[in-house]
């Protein structure tokens, strides 16, 4: 498919750029690590294992949320630096392919951070997953995508705004709070095994629906945003 090949082109370019500079991933890693450390200092996970388990879902997602927000802010500035964005606007390939490529690239970065983070998190917080750990393999990517797809979109939307860095959290947070809620609940549910599997399943299904709905709208509206002027 032609569209797919455009997406791949964009994705490859973004990965290569990141590889050359490693801006986003390292920034995110630093932030998330520091956060884990802060919480484990603040909270003495060894002392209160059950409480730890209760807050760790929240800690994980808040960390990822903030970390990815910093990275997302960066991801479009690169396009803006030498006004490459104008070259992108003039290119005849569909604009949404650019969006999808970038969202996928961001997704990969955040997933890498998660992959590094997960073991550290388990060790520092002394976690034993009481529920079905495999469900996390569904929840993490779904939740991450929810963050990333909207984040990428709104970072692009705020691109030419006067106070870009501030604007992204302002828009993104209220919009994605339901998703944050879903993923925190689902994650905590798995970690503590206190949630009825039926509820758990419903959180996950809702998260998936959220992802599908927002991905669709983002793809549909991206061209409008890119050429808004």
């Amino acid at each position: 498919m032609r569209y797919l090949s455009f997406v791949l082109t964009h994705l490859r370019k973004d990965l290569r750029l990141e590889w050359r500079s490693r801006d986003s991933i390292n920034g995110m890693l630093f932030f998330v690590l520091l956060m884990v450390v802060v919480f484990s200092i603040a909270f003495d996970p060894a002392g209160y294992p059950s409480t730890t388990r209760q807050i760790s879902g929240g800690v994980l997602w808040v960390g990822l949320l903030f970390a990815s927000m910093t990275a997302l802010n960066q991801s479009w500035t690169r396009e803006q630096r030498n006004q490459v964005l104008e070259a992108q606007r003039m290119a005849p390939s569909p604009a949404s392919a650019l969006f999808v490529g970038k969202a996928l690239a961001n997704m990969i970065f955040v997933l890498v951070v998660e992959a590094v983070l997960a073991p550290i998190f388990v060790v520092f917080f002394n976690l034993h997953v009481l529920g079905n750990a495999w469900l996390l393999a569904a929840i993490l990517p779904l939740g991450t995508w929810a963050l990333v797809v909207n984040g990428t979109f709104f970072a692009a939307l705020g691109l030419r705004a006067r106070n870009r860095e501030l604007l992204l959290p302002l828009i993104l947070l209220p919009l994605s709070l339901p998703a944050v809620l879903m993923m925190v609940q689902a994650t905590t549910g798995v970690l503590t095994a206190e949630l009825d599997p039926i509820y758990l399943r419903s959180w996950i299904t809702q998260l998936a629906c959220y992802d599908i709905i927002y991905t669709t709208i983002c793809i549909l509206l991206f061209e409008t945003v890119l050429n808004a002027e």
């Binding site: 370019k13 030498n82 006004q83 104008e86 003039m90 005849p92």
Partner: protein, 236 residues
């Protein structure tokens, strides 16, 4: 798109781009004031004017990157952005990624242009050679000298084989011999056949009028956001 070919073939005198009483207002400042201009297909126009006259703004409007506050800008009788596969635009800045080499940059943009009605894309290597850069240079564009950046930027637009080519000060930062070379290249470019018929149109701004003279079928002179003079005459 393919149905359009015969029409284009017949009407060679059609306008490639036109502005109809276009104004562009930033806040309380008018960068373009009621500009009306037509650029016939096959023509080559040099835009002259002092700093801040609105030359770049005019080019960007034709490219579709700016939508006029008032008036209408068209390219090939359509919204410029909708005809973007036939237009190429080079600006003051490189429009290239600093971290990638010229070759990587160009192949990337070439891929974006493939398909979509213009299978006719030149190769990045050829474009780089044409502007006098070595395609195998391992340095990223961010480490190029100013003139080399300008060339890489030129190669980016040339490789897409556009029908309407918009160049914003292509000669600035080029050394004398390359500038002369570029003029030849552009003169040559105008003669390249267009796959679907039609002719190549060139619009460029510059402050080195003498250099651009061989290219100037028409000279447009701007001042304070207005076109104050249009000199037609082949090769001044």
């Amino acid at each position: 798109m393919s149905t359009a070919t015969p029409i284009r073939d017949q009407a060679l005198s059609v306008t490639a781009a036109s502005l109809e009483s276009v104004s562009k207002i930033y806040g309380a400042f008018a960068a373009l004031r009621n500009v009306t201009a037509a650029f016939p297909a096959g023509s080559s126009t040099v835009i002259l004017g002092e700093n801040g006259a609105g030359k770049s703004t005019l080019l960007r409007t034709v490219a579709g990157l700016i939508s006029p506050t008032r008036g209408r800008a068209t390219a090939f009788g359509d919204l410029p952005l909708r005809q973007r596969h036939r237009i190429a635009y080079m600006s003051h800045s490189t429009m290239l990624y600093d971290e990638l080499t010229a070759m990587e940059n160009l192949s990337y943009f070439a891929t974006l242009h493939r398909g979509e009605g213009c299978a006719c894309v030149g190769s990045p290597e050829m474009a780089l050679r044409a502007v006098g850069l070595d395609p195998a240079l391992p340095r990223p564009v961010g480490q190029y000298s100013q003139g080399m950046r300008q060339r890489a930027s030129l190669a980016r637009v040339l490789q897409t084989d556009p029908e309407l080519l918009l160049l914003d000060e292509p000669f600035s930062n080029l050394d004398v011999s390359s500038a002369g070379h570029l003029v030849d290249l552009l003169a040559d470019f105008r003669t390249w056949p267009v796959p679907g018929g039609g002719r190549r149109t060139l619009i460029l701004t510059t402050h080195q009028a003498s250099l651009a003279e061989p290219l100037a079928d028409r000279t447009l002179i701007m001042r304070q956001g207005q076109v104050i003079d249009l000199v037609t005459g082949s090769h001044g």
